[in-house]
Amino acid sequence: MSETGVYSSDIHERAHKAMGDAHLQEAYRSSTLRLYSHRLQAIGQVPGFEPLRDRARELKREVMDHLDHYLAQFADNVERQGGKVHWARTGEEACEIVKEIVRNAGAQEVVKGKSMVGEEIELNHALEAAGIDAVETDLGELIVQLSGERPAHIVAPAIHKTRHDVSDLFVDKLHSDRTEDPEQLTAIARKALRAMFAKAGVGMSGANFAVAETGSIAVIENEGNIRLCTTAPRVHIALVGIEKIIPRFDDLGVFLRLLGRSATGQKLTSYTSILTGPRRPGEDGPDEMHVVLIDNGRIRTLADEKMREALYCIRCGACLNACPVYRKIGGHAYGWVYGGPIGALITPQFVGLGQARELPFASSLCGACREVCPVRINIPDLLLHLRSQTQEQLPAAPQAGAAISERKSMRLWAWAMKRPWAFSLGGAFARFGVRWLPGSAGSGAQRWITRLPFFPFSNWTKGRDFPAPDPVPFRKRWEKLSR
């Protein structure tokens, strides 16, 4: 079983571990670059891709500004189509609802399609504790489930695994013959999964989009397992985060064109299923369709007008692929289920800033994420806001090795920066002080300090030298220059 809970405060240890693993580094580097370049190729072939992004953003804004209206409309239409709507305020509530539906269906086995909100609410643990056998049917999700891990990437959960890792895992858990051939590995998984599909009484899915106008949910995938999960078992349960709503059926065209291209560089994924209610008489499909609408921190996010932009996210994973920090530290370092820039943003919002205070700082604010985001979420700007909320709302974090607290040093810094004489005096002190620090000569007259004292400055010289301040600052040179 995978870990539960939030470990975002361990980000430094987890990042350090990931960065020391050469295989993992190569897996992240090559996979993210492949997805990144596929996206670039795919969007290059679409005239009007930029206006499409604008339109998607506009639609998401419209929904988030009137979510109460659209949610009610969606719920009404699900019921009108014969589906059943359930509301869950928390992850625990959502798990209880699902268990109840499974129990009522008399099912012992559940097949699951990939769902990030399902990961978020730790449904597999809840089902296992209730004695229900739940199997992930997406190949990547199956791999992480069998490894007892969480997804390492929003759209490629097993991005951190090599075929060698998967081979070992299948030998161990599925008792298969050893092979590293991807086709044979897939065949092994398929064989194991077919047996589950045949006996499962309940199939579960997430939803990429929930259409208010029709009460439909849209799910996209490449393996066909979601279509099986949502149609073969007698009961279908869809887990839907409340931010998944889009207004009209026609709007699907905007989002579907963006999502496949942004995620994997595909025009469309292999399967696009639009599910509207349970089966009609004389048709195939599940007898029951349940839609569980899940809050789990989203309403709190919505309440902040500035920060609600994070809810525009359509979970394409493009920001992860573009992010130089994610490429280094990997998805598990973020300590919950969402990694990368969007994880650094929504994890503190969903689980509470106090539980994930390090995450807004886990970014160089380079903006590569914003550049690729299909709905143009201004991630760096929102991270900056979270940083200010951290400093304003949370008690100061303990800092080992710091001479004074960060807040006090910032107060002192601001005091000096408001007084040019104090600024100059500070510079003079620094020039005087660094003479006693270990250093070496560089090109020209530049001297480089090899070890700075005091946290956080000491962190600078862990892998870099620090330039000694110039003996003659610019303001002193100006006199000569202005003559």
């Binding site: 350090h16 380079c366 900056l384 920066m417 870099r464 610019f474």
Partner: protein
């Protein structure tokens, strides 16, 4: 000096003043060669970015508010730094969003505020400043300059006009170098690993010099290069534009 020579106030930036005053001198001389009259107000210190970047908005506001009144007599204000320019042009409006009086001052300042390479190309219409530098040079796009201000072609135009230069592009040339303000000390291991990637990309492109327009990136990259004793050097664009080799 030309009769209608524009009056340009130099915003040297705190790092520029204390660590790279030579870059400041180059900036002044290059601006003069391009036909500007340069002034320097010694009351200036910092734009407030270190506090803003770390989430201390009140402290950032206190420091930033001073900047608004420093350059009233100048036609333009020029800074040899992409991130400080972005701080003033992009983030000051956000920082002072609730203070209409200061916001008016922000608007007056940001309309006249330019990054060094942007100012030369867009305002002074100067590209060839007479430099010659027969070396292989890679230009590093600092993130704030590239993505907050959209300055991508201007530094390259200036570099291409340098005699004898061979301008090479690095693979993934828009990838961050890992400085990121206080990110560099909050996540030092990641920050240094990103510097390593950047310097390797420059070396792979055969560059002898890695050029950027941002003191933060340069301090970080040069610090890494010096620690590892690598055979590549960093330069600020302004320094290169003064070379006669």
């Amino acid at each position: 000096m030309a009769k209608n020579s524009p009056k340009v106030a130099l915003f040297i930036t705190c790092l520029g003043d204390q660590f790279f005053p030579g870059v400041g001198e180059s900036v002044v001389r290059v601006l003069r060669r391009a036909g500007a009259t340069v002034t320097f107000n010694p009351a200036q210190t910092c734009c407030g970015q270190p506090a803003f970047n770390t989430g201390y908005r009140e402290e950032a506001r206190e420091v930033a508010a001073r900047v608004l009144d420093l350059f009233d007599d100048a036609d333009y204000v020029v800074a040899p730094s992409g991130s400080c320019s972005a701080m003033i042009r992009v983030f000051y409006p956000e920082l002072f969003a609730d203070e209409p009086e200061l916001l008016r001052k922000v608007e007056r300042l940001r309309g006249r505020f330019y990054e060094f390479s942007e100012f030369l190309v867009k305002v002074m219409k100067a590209e060839d400043l007479g430099a010659s530098f027969p070396h292989r040079v890679a230009y590093h796009d600092s993130c704030h300059l590239l993505r907050e201000l959209g300055i991508e072609t201007e530094p390259r135009k200036l570099l291409r006009a340098v005699k004898g230069i061979e301008l090479v592009e690095m693979q993934d040339n828009k990838l961050c170098c890992g400085f990121g303000g206080t990110f560099s000390v909050k996540f030092p291991e990641v920050s240094v690993a990103m510097a390593q990637d950047k310097v390797r990309a420059a070396a792979a492109a055969g560059a002898e010099y890695l050029v950027a327009n941002d003191a933060g990136c340069l301090m970080h990259l040069a610090g890494y290069i010096h620690r590892e004793k690598l055979p590549i050097q960093t330069l600020h664009l302004a320094e290169l534009l003064e070379k006669h080799e």
